[in-house]
Symmetry: C2
Subunit: 197 residues, 2 copies
């Protein structure tokens, strides 16, 4: 069946959306292409007409899932102060922890990406660099002596690990889950120089 | 076939060992019970004679994988000073990053545990608490103002996230991978109060 260019673009977006939610919710290895096609309301064939492999789709879904956070940070920055604090607050919120399917793909899939094709790691690396660069510009003076890039790299790693660990223990020990998020929030704020003059 | 008590204990250990390596290397959802049994030199039936489910085996493999790190930290502590620094150095080493199969199961599986049965999260929570308690006792005075438990919780989250992120980008951007580990090492050391009097 011949598909118009417009329809093809629509199909691609539907596949990326479905894949993004399913991969975050159930893991990249936990979901097959059949299920993704079905959720997007399409066939296997339509998926392979758009993406040469599941890995290629995973990479695009990963990049797409990072976009809202990056856009929000950039918009906030254009609009005025407070953007880094808002970003950290959102990232380490109970709401983000409890919303796997629509949250940051880095914390949803951190430990899985190493096992995927290089192309997925490339999207992770690009996203990590972009967020770190944006964070770096928002840093103030801090009691922590490391340079700004090191501070931003460590903050982002701590946030990815904080959300990951708090999700891992959420069912078994909700109190510990909350404590992890609050502790990372406090320390990341100190590294950023919040409250310092 | 009737199995002696001794043989049953041996089988159980072989299954836990095989599962521990495979789960870390390939992901909990990336490996099936058939492959685990085979790697342990046993049958499906022998696995289910020991564990009611794959989740029960995953939980025991997870706890077993945490033991060497906990034992090392406890032994170091008994033997004298320097244990927290050694633990952080080992955890954030290039060697640990590059050795998925024998490394810490928390960084190997952080983002996957939330999707597993509660029993796996219970082992994660217990291990996290035990390590945090040991770390807390090694903390010195630091420029970071949060209390000791918060500092230890955030340090462990940063270490799990640091190893996870550095592994995720290792194939695509080895330089960034090294930078993440070094930055987390530097900042975690500052949070611990290394070098402070």
């Amino acid at each position: 069946m011949k598909v118009t260019k417009e329809k093809a673009t629509e199909n691609r977006a539907a596949l990326v959306r479905a894949a993004g939610r399913l991969f975050r919710e159930r893991g990249i290895d936990g979901v097959g292409v059949a299920e993704i096609s079905k959720k997007a309301g399409l066939t296997h064939g339509a998926l392979y007409a758009q993406f040469p492999s599941k890995e290629a789709l995973a990479a695009e879904a990963f990049a797409s899932g990072l976009r809202p956070g990056l856009e929000k940070m950039t918009a906030d920055r254009a609009g005025g102060s407070g953007s880094l604090t808002d970003f950290i607050d959102d990232y380490l919120s109970f709401g983000h922890r409890d919303n796997l399917a629509a949250g940051c793909p880095m914390s949803a899939s951190a430990s899985e990406v190493a096992r995927q094709d290089k192309i997925v790691g490339e999207r992770f690396a690009e996203g990590f660099e972009q967020i770190v660069a944006l964070m770096e510009r928002g840093l103030g003076a801090s009691a922590v002596k490391a340079d700004k890039r090191q501070r931003a790299l460590a903050m982002m790693a701590a946030m990815v690990g904080g959300v990951g660990a708090s999700r891992a223990v959420a069912k078994a020990d909700p109190k510990l889950s909350n404590q992890i998020l609050r502790a990372v929030r406090q320390i990341v704020g100190e590294i950023a120089g919040e409250g310092a003059s």
